[in-house]
Assembly symmetry: C2
Homo-oligomer: 328 residues x 2
Amino acid sequence: MSIRIGIVGYGNLGRGVELALRMNPDMELAAFFTRRPPETLKTLSPEVPVYHVDTLADFAGKLDVLILCGGSATDLPRQTPDCARLFNVVDSFDTHAKIPQHFAACDEASKASGKVALISAGWDPGLFSLQRLMGQCILPNGNDYTFWGTGISQGHSDAIRRIPGVVDAKQYTIPVPQALQRVRSGENPTLTTREKHTRECFVVAQEGADLARIENDIKTMPNYFADYDTTVHFISQEELLRDHSGMPHGGFVLRTGFTGENGETPQLIEYSLKLGSNPEFTASVLVCCARAVYRMNQEGQSGAKTIFDVPPAYLSPKSGEELREKLL
Amino acid sequence: MSIRIGIVGYGNLGRGVELALRMNPDMELAAFFTRRPPETLKTLSPEVPVYHVDTLADFAGKLDVLILCGGSATDLPRQTPDCARLFNVVDSFDTHAKIPQHFAACDEASKASGKVALISAGWDPGLFSLQRLMGQCILPNGNDYTFWGTGISQGHSDAIRRIPGVVDAKQYTIPVPQALQRVRSGENPTLTTREKHTRECFVVAQEGADLARIENDIKTMPNYFADYDTTVHFISQEELLRDHSGMPHGGFVLRTGFTGENGETPQLIEYSLKLGSNPEFTASVLVCCARAVYRMNQEGQSGAKTIFDVPPAYLSPKSGEELREKLL
């Protein structure tokens, strides 16, 4: 019997989950839930019913796991605990500073219902967090480095779009190759914000707009750009659509450490992602986490969890025997 | 109260464990066990008692975890199940083909004793296995690639030393950069043994030995060298000691896959290790696995486990709250 999944929210991430489920034959996409009028939602899976999110309670006991595909700013802080009162859930809550509070709310809800709520799955938080954890455990005498990119930052692109005279924009976060090399060399550098990443902006301006002023507004924007070396390119809307419509992302987690009697032996662990599509990859992580959530709940666990709590074998459709024989 | 550890076997790996424990203040090195006359063993920790391995049974209940530092060929297949009848144990059993049988023997022993036996910890098997597992779970539509090196292969160095006329030798396994690049590019190449790795040998020959014959013996040796592009350098014993006494190793695990409606979106996960000392790094992995074993047993688990079964948080001395706040 396959694991019955409901997708809540149908943006880029929800669509990514829909596609990822097709590659996991032990799971079945049973329903979509949306805040829009259900009949207006055009999914890639016309055979799968679409319901209004307000009807979710009617599906208690009929779905094994809900994958929550809303945003971290306003959707998930309410939606994940609410859903955890009736369902096993997975979300990709990514506001790092608010994770403890989100965890507590989800833990209370899911302990009350006897369900499992896996929060902050994805790649950062998620896979990158796991690398940071393991790096520290294996090499206690060492340093962590996380670099992001090359990839589109939605938040920074939005910030540019709010500048008067800007029609559209995309912003790439780019790790500085020299900084990466210094880390890999075992130098253990202390890197400033400016030394770690550069920012490259592709901007469509209104006809007749003051380009010099827009460029200055971007480069001096506090928090977002002022602390970085930023490049601004003005291009046409056609060029933006043609060349910058993808949602690539990625990054690097490095742990440099020393072992040996006098800490003389350098050791380096490096993990990196190069993603053609950020939401499709995040969705792929959520889907295998949904499998783990289902299993953890089947064996009687409940409460909030993170990727730190998941035995990796639970992510896989294969048996322990098969994993040991083929992959260990 | 700290976790009391016993080290069984004092070669390079045992010494690595001894050193790694110094960086983990929640653990305490309580005893060494050796097959040699205990008084002849010179450790780096004169304050820690050394006992003969035959007295191990006297320590049942007095040690929390034994870290077994013997070899996979003859020591561990007997030692791990034997020790698991009385203790929680961790080993680095690395004969991939015999893992299922070793697991079964350890599972029986540790279930009978109510202890946990974590086998095949280290980096391959171990961390690399974990990456292979997670890569397959996240990107089911994809391919795995594992490359080893640059590093010393003990087995290949030994094979060269057995050739008549050879006094000493070290062999480096080296991943072919072009092959790595082809994998990273998303080409999904099918790579032959020769295309993936080269072998570089540093050989000390007896005075007057026939160097051309030795070189030919190496390059044509079945299984070990015949399928590879192999380079042989003859050097002096002094040069070998000076330049090739380290035990560096490392490697790469890559998962290339595709997501999207028509499998059109390339995704790449890459994990790599660059190790100044293979045994010191392996030891560092064993030590944090010993912490996990202790905890799993404390909460009532028993039986054989692998890294696939360990919730990552159990590897860390930090609390769940602290991990979520600082590392997620």
